[in-house]
Structures are given as structure tokens and as C-alpha cells.
Amino acid sequence: MTLLTIDNIEKRYGGVHAVAGVSFSVAAGERVALIGPNGAGKTTCFNMIGGQIRPDAGRVGLNGEDVTGLPSRKLFRKGVGRTFQIAATFGSMTVLENVQLALLSHERKALRLLGEATSAAKDEAHELLAAVGLESQSDRPCDQLAYGDVKRLELAMALANAPRLLLMDEPTAGMAPRERHELMALVSRISAQRDLSVLFTEHDMDVVFGHADRIVVLDCGRLVAQGTQEEVRVDPEVKRIYLGDAA
């Protein structure tokens, strides 16, 4: 069953066609990697799906509903979780409080003037932290976490709305190779357990070929190939982009 449908989205910056009519889809429970050389339009494409940039044309559909241009806070309500290339969490709160706030927001209680935020949704917050392996750190201020743990915390927060789709922009950027595979293995496990679709951009081909069910390749704002790992691996166009004409 198709969860996310990208239909011919476009973005221009002045004369530059950053994304020129890209279409693909993500099925329920599927892990899709969006790859391409620098300047291919990955991030623009990703931000149009995630609600940070409004497409000039085209349509983004989520479970049959048109969500084109919805800001990310509204996508959150529709079951989309998001992590960023440079992980950011709420530095003045503890690890647990970060997750509690995400849960409060999911329950639409984040604007309440009464009640203690720190005593809200404790069990669920601990469960989420356990799922990403951060349980032992729950009471630490999160500005003291190692970067890899910040990434895990971000993942826990992105799971607070029990999402059906997880958007991860360069999830392993800035991490050591071993940590990368640990994090992506965790994502794959969670995705399988929860029938959660994952769309991620990534530079590291080991990560891409290790953890994606399907791969979408962009170049110069256009989709040049998509398919299973094997299909993409043998695609002549993809070879040309990554290895040059000599290949």
C-alpha cells in the first residue's frame, strides 16, 4: 500500500531549477533512500516533503490526502516524524523532558498552563527512550549528551506521535562509521517492528546499500533512476553520475 506519493514536485530559485518535476512513492513499512551527488536537489526535495519549503508546483500526498506545503508542525499531526541533518534538541531540558514534551504535544496538551510537565507521560517517555537505547541517560541534561546520543534522542522524539512515516535528513552525518551502522540498524529494527516507512537522504553508500529497501537517485533536480538496490547498482545512468563517463 502506498503511503507517501510525490507527484511532479518543482522548485525554482531565480533561474535555477533546483527540483524539476520529481515523482516517486514510498510504500507502508518501506525504507527508501534518496541519493544523488551534491547539488542534485536532495535537500530541497526533502524539505518540500517535510514542510520547510513550499513547492512551486506538484503535489505531496500522504495516505491519499493532499499535504502539499503543510508546515512540519501540521505534518506531525498527520503522523510524520522528522529528524534533521544537524540534530537539535532542547538543550535546557533533560533527555526525558525532551521526549515528554514531544508526547505532550502529540496529545495536544503542550499549551496547558497548569500541571507539571515533568510528571506527564513518564511511562511512555521511558518506553521510547528504551526503544532507542537511551534509558540510562534519561535524567541527564541533553546539552551534555554525546552527538550520537543526541541523534538517538531526536529519533525518540520523532517517534512520539506514533508516526507512519519517518523523514530523516542525513541521519548519520557527523557520526563515526560504527555509530552510523548502529543507528541505522536501530532505525531498520524500529521500522520493521512498527510497520513504519522511512525516507532518508544519505551520502554514505554503505549505509544506503545496507539499510534501504529501495533507492531513488536524483541528479540536477531530476529523478534519474529508482528501484531496488540491484536495479540501481546496474543502472548505466547512475554509474555515469557517480563514476563519470569512463565507467
Binding site: R73, M93, L101, L111, R112, A117, P141, D143
Partner: protein, 625 residues
Amino acid sequence: MTFADLLAQLVNGLANASTLFLLASGLSLIFGVTRVVNFAHGSLYMLGTYGAIWLAEHLGGGALGFWSAVLIAAIGVAVLGALMELAVLKRIYGAPELFQLLATFAVVLIVKDAALLLWGPEDILGPRAPGLSGAIELAGQPIPQYDVLLIVLGPVVLLALKLLLERTRWGVLIRAATEDREMVGALGVNQVWLFTGVFALGSGLAGLAGALQMPREPASLGLDLIAITDAFVVVVVGGLGSLGGAFLAAGVIGIVKALCFAFGTIEVLGLTLNFSKLTLVVEFVLMALTLAFRPWGFAGRPLRGAREPAGSVEHVHTPSRKFWAIALAAAIVLAVLPAFVDDYTLVLATDCAIFALFAASLHFLMGPGGMASFGHAAYFGIGAYAAGLLAKQAGAPMLVALAAAPLAGAIFALGFGWFCVRLTGVYLAMLTLAFAQIVWSVAWQWDDVTGGSNGLVGVWPATWAADKTHFYWLTIALCAMAIAALWRVIHAPFGYALRAGRDANLRADAIGIDVKRVQWLSFPVAGAAAGLAGALYVYSKGSLAPDVMAISRSVDGLVMVLLGGVQTLTGPVFGAALFTWLQDEILRRTEYWRLILGLAILVLVLVFPRGVVGSLRRIVRGGET
């Protein structure tokens, strides 16, 4: 109004615009490179005026005396600015931005009293420029020669600055630092001297502007805040860091003000519009309009490379048992205080409580909200006027007035906040200032309702609370409850959502928090608390005048919050009590309370860069980070 009148006003307006541009360009340069919001810039301007007049007297008459006075004053102020940078700001570039602000407030206080000490409280008239005291005829209207000179000088200085910035190595470095300070540092440029040099240049421009005003405006001790506000308005309307923008903004403001004078009172469709009354407020209306439609001013761009508040953020802890024990002890001490002290101390304690609430409400926006408000006195004043007007004009009982004041504060804060949260950083702060000035000038000029500059008198508490002790208890109880309510909200989900928006805006949005909305809603919460403080203030004094919401009150609030430590909950409350008590204590002993307070603040800033409570806590915990 004749054409000749209009022309005369226009010339005057353009001459004002020139000095305004000189003043603002200095502020803009300093902010652009060092990112320091230098509140003392107006004080440097004031020193320029005083210094030039004093020098002109001592250097003897004649053109030589006059112009050397102008030049020496400008250079002297430049040197002072450089010294200020070397002695104070250089040490705290690493500290949070708001802390640098506090240091510049301290300089404002010190300079004001230094001027009082040197030149006395009376306004001093300057000499006219020898050889330029006459007028030239234009369309049958005498135009002062000196004004013509100023009008020419503005573009000349703009051109000179442009050449300096574009044609010299030093200028290139300044522009590069304005664009990306970290990068300039990474390229091996010695930023230390760059910053000091920019401070000297910017200060010199302020001094020159002040000195040039000597024949046109008497030197007075109020010039500093007037000048800094005007300069901020010009810089913000023009766009931070843009000289061309500042030039344009100064011109527009000068012309619009001149037009208001020229129109005077006009009858339109049976309505009497008094334009000259608008002159006090027109620049702020202009600023509010500009920021509402062009959030970065005429020529500005979003700030780049501005420091994040990261690292300065203290964690909010759930109140521990120890906290409640201390709170209970404090409550008991405060409750039995009247048995041990005289009426004078009791009134002072009442004031302390009122300002503690005022500071706590400001902290609510600045701390968890991360939004510096430079015009927080507006809500204090609105609460004060709401209570005073209800009591005087409608004869409402005290309790009704006390209940209505927070409501009025909240409603206005909801309106102002809607515009403010569309902006960030200094722009947001300046818009809050604009709203405060608009409210202030309405109170000042709407004689029929607010009593104008005389204000309202005879607003006394109900008979059951008229006794000083009873009123003290009432104030303490209400302030304590209101402060506790603010703290509850900070610990509630709302407070966490507010901090989330401050800590990581994108992340907050990604977990479904509408950051702008949360920030907007925090305004009425703070406005209500400040409104209550204002109402209690009126009843404690028995009268009120527009100065309850003057800029200086907003500045006091900022000092209270920063003195106590913006990262802590209790800090601002102690900061307010400390500030109020110190002010009273010093004032009883010497006229120069500002000087002592300013020096005290400077010492505190340099010794306790986290505010008093924040630093003490750190020392008690023994180096724990």
C-alpha cells in the same frame, strides 16, 4: 500653513536628520561588527554636546574656538568609547548578549551622574556658530546657515564612511566582520583591535553628532535616553548594519516629523487633528509600521552569525523540598516584617514586592521565551492607568480596579505581542520599545482622559487597606500569588513549549509546536502580571503620571532581571528587590545614586557574569557545570 512655513520646517527636519544619521551610523557600525547593543551610545552623544559647549567656552570665541571644540569633543568621545570597550566590553564578549547590554546600561548610569557632577543639573545653552549664525533667504523665508551646513554634512559623512568601508583595508575587514565574524577570526585577522577601532569610530560619530548639535539644542541630562532611542529607531527602520538604510531612515523620520510640525492643527471633515502632538510618537509609529511590513527594515537582511543563547541556559528544576522550606520561611519573615520595621521601610518593602512582580513578568518573556522586551513598562503603565482611570473616572472600588488592571495589561500585550513575535532578536526588542513609547505618548498627550503630563492624583486604597501595614500585606500576598502563578506556568507544559521554541525552533515545529503562537500567548501572561504590579504601584503612591511607563522604567526592569540572572527563576525577584533597595539606600545618602549603582553593576558584571543568583548558586555547588 503657508508654503514658506513648510519649507522652514523641512529644512529644520533635514538638519535634524543629518545629526540623527551621524548618531545612528555609529551605533550601526558598532552593532554590525561586535553585535553589542550599545545602550551607552546616547550617553556618548550627550557627552559630545556637553563637552563641545564646555570646550567652546574655554577655547574662546571665534570660528577657530567653535570648530576646534567640535573636533576635540568628537575625538575625546571616540577615545572614551575605545576605553569603554577596552575596560569593560572586551572582558565580556564571550558572555550572553543580554549581559553585555547590562554592562552598557551601567555605563549609561555612570555617564549621566558624571555629567551631573561636572556640569550640574541645569540645561546649558551652547554658543552659535561664528560666521554661520545668520540666515540665507529661500522663497522669502530665512533659512539658518548652520542648518544648511548640517544638511550638506550628512551626505558628506555618508560618502566618507562608504569610501572608508569600500576603499581601505580596514574598511574591508569591518565589512567582512559584519558579514561573518567567525570567518574573519578564522582567517587570522586580529579582531581585538578591529573591535576597539570600530568602537572608537562609532563613538566618535556619536560625539560629533552631539557636538554639532550645540548651537541648536541645549545640553541636558535627558539627552542620553532620547538620543539612544532615536538612534535605535533609525538603525532598526533602516536595517541593522546598513549605512544607506540608516541615511534613508533618518531622512524619512526627519521629514515626517517636520511635516507634523508644519501641519499643526488641521480640521478634516469636522474632526480636529493635531499633528504637532504626533511629533513625540511619529517615529515609533513609523518604526512599528516598517517592522510590520518589512521585518528587517528598509535595507536590512536577517542577522547572520549572531550568537545563539546556547550554553547560557540554566535548567529549570522542579521545586525541591528545600525550595518549599525556604519559601515558607521567607513568607513568614515577610508576614511579620511590619512588627519590626518603621513605616518608611514598610513602604520600601511594598515597592520591592511590586517590582519583584514586574521583574518576574519581564523574566517570563526574556528567560523561557528568549524574547528581550525593551518596552515592558508599557504593561506596567497600562495596568496603572487602567486602575487609576477606573478609580478616578468611574469611581470603581479598589478590588475592581485591581482585577481590571491585569486584564487590561493582558489585552494590550495580546495586541502588541501579535506584531512582536513576527520578529526576532533586536528587531523584536525594538518593536516592544516602539509600542511602549506609543502608549507613553498617548498617556502624555490625551489630557482630557489621562490628565496628560500631570497624570492622575488621589488614587487611594479602600479604607480597609489604607493602613500602610494592611496595604503591605495585600501587596505581598498578591505579588507572591502572581509570581507563583508565573512560575507554575513555567513548570507547566506551556512553559516547556515556550523554552522548546527558544532552544531549537525547527525541532519544536517538527514535534507539532506552533512556536509563534506559544510566544504570542506568553505576552498576555506577562502583560497581566505586569499590569497587576502597575495597579498596586498606583495605589501605593496615590497618584500616577506618564513616567510610570517611561523608557527608564523599562530599562530598570531589564537591569533587575539581568542583575538577578535571567537563567534562574528566583534571580529576577531578588534582582528587583536588590535594585529597589539599593536605589533607595544610595539615594538617601547621595545625589549620585546612579554613579554608585552603575559602578556596582559593572563590578557585578565583571565578577558575576551569570547574575547574582546564578553565580552564587554556581559557587555554592562548587564548580559544577
